[in-house]
């Protein structure tokens, strides 16, 4: 390569931001998630060229272009398959996946289940604001059943809320945590931890939508550290205990819930052969 290598010096979090100005509404929680991601990359000092951030469609899915790493802003709901293919084909890369609650849990719900159970070494950051922002504020899978803020469901969606952490735990995710955009340094810690933990990691982030869910500004008064009385960092490797803690979760517990011991998925490998040798199978 004939590209000039800059003098080796530590990258700061600002070095992981691009010069593109986000289209997010002023006040959006996603700005802080972007900040946490860039801080995590700086903390881990990952070379920008060795990191890829993959997303689907939605407000939060705009995030790759706002970073200076490799990015893929794909189609609605398919961030996890794109990331799975990338990581499987290029295990040397650090692959992060980001998106929202509609993208990940509604249209991408099936991929979410299978990404959890496949356990490819990915870090999936879901910015959950319980609303579809890019289409003017419809109910999402995590919206309360009685929320009447949308013209599409004027009486409220009337559907029980999707429980991302319970489902991730059931489906086999190897690392499960919740963060809050208003505490970006804590979130940074979770992202670093998840990146370093093998297998599929889910970080569920409460990230307020100040435009369609202005009441979510109050998240900051509702969040609290730790699940089921455990400390922020105190994730359990025991699924039974993790389920118990989740049963006591009010939806605002932040910290590490579960840290499993399942090895990350790796595609099959085999002894090397040449094309000529493989073709030999067909010779009469």
């Amino acid at each position: 390569m004939n590209i000039q290598t800059p003098a080796p010096q530590a990258l700061t979090f600002a070095d992981y931001k691009s010069d593109l100005k986000p289209v997010w509404c002023p006040g959006c929680g996603d700005f802080s998630v972007l900040s946490a991601i860039t801080k995590a990359l700086a903390t881990l000092q990952l070379p920008r060229e060795d990191v890829a951030l993959v997303s689907g469609i939605g407000c939060s899915s705009r995030i790759p272009a706002y970073t200076s790493v490799y990015g893929f802003h794909s189609v609605h709901g398919r961030a996890l398959p794109v990331a799975t293919g990338l990581k499987s084909a290029r295990p040397d890369l650090t692959v992060l996946v980001a998106g929202g609650d509609g993208d990940g849990f509604s249209i991408g719900g099936n991929h979410f289940l299978h990404a959890c159970r496949r356990n490819v070494d990915l870090t999936y950051i879901v910015m959950d604001n319980s609303v579809y922002g890019m289409t003017k504020g419809q109910a999402s899978p995590t919206t309360e059943g009685d929320w009447t803020g949308s013209k599409l469901t004027p009486e409220g969606p009337g559907v029980a809320e999707f429980q991302p952490l319970e489902i991730a735990l059931s489906a086999g995710a190897n690392y499960i945590a919740r963060g809050f955009s208003g505490k970006p340094n804590e979130l940074t810690k979770l992202i670093c931890d998840a990146v370093e933990h093998p297998g599929f990691s889910l970080i569920h982030v409460l990230s307020p939508c100040v435009t369609f869910r202005p009441e979510q500004r109050e998240y900051k008064t509702m969040v609290h550290d730790g699940f089921g009385g455990a400390a922020f960092d105190e994730g359990t490797p025991d699924r039974r205990e993790a389920f118990r803690r989740l049963m006591d979760d009010d939806g605002y517990s932040c910290g590490v819930l579960f840290k499993g011991n399942t090895p990350a998925f790796k595609p099959q490998t085999d002894a090397p052969r040449t094309i000529e040798e493989i073709q030999g199978d067909f010779i009469l």
């Binding site: 986000p22 289209v23 208003g182 970006p184 340094n185 940074t188 900051k220």
Partner: protein, 175 residues
Amino acid sequence: MSTAFKDMTGAPEFLAHALQLEQEAAVRFDELADMLEVHNNHKGVVELFRKMAHFSRLHLAEAKERAVGVDVPALKPWEFKWPGDEAPESGEITDAHYLMTPHHALKLALASETQGFDFYQGLADNSAHQDVRAMAREFADEEAEHVATLKEWLDRYPEPDSTWDEDMDPPVSVD
């Protein structure tokens, strides 16, 4: 996060905090300026945030000078001993609004500078280390000036009436 006073271990750690505080403030104010620029808000608000970012970068340069020859520890983002959830001068993102006026922007900036002042003031008053107290005093004095300036400016921009955030147009469907 607890708001109880957390002392520094010494001047190097204090400088690590000062450097981080200013860098985060600069990035945040630029970010606020970007947000408002993208959303076609009052030019004055964008300019104010850019100015704040500029000042933060100046302070960062000053802090860097102070840090020459000092072995400043590399702290991870969550290891800083901030009194709140973020570095004290990082303007509160959720306080931003696409229709915010210079009054609101000044209030946001004032709040962040006040937090910065409180942070340094706390160390100047309470640190066990003499050198930390001395440096914190200087920084606090500087922040006090900023706070005073912002208050002056704020006087020139009184609170707008309660209709400031009314928008006659519906939101846009983007994706």
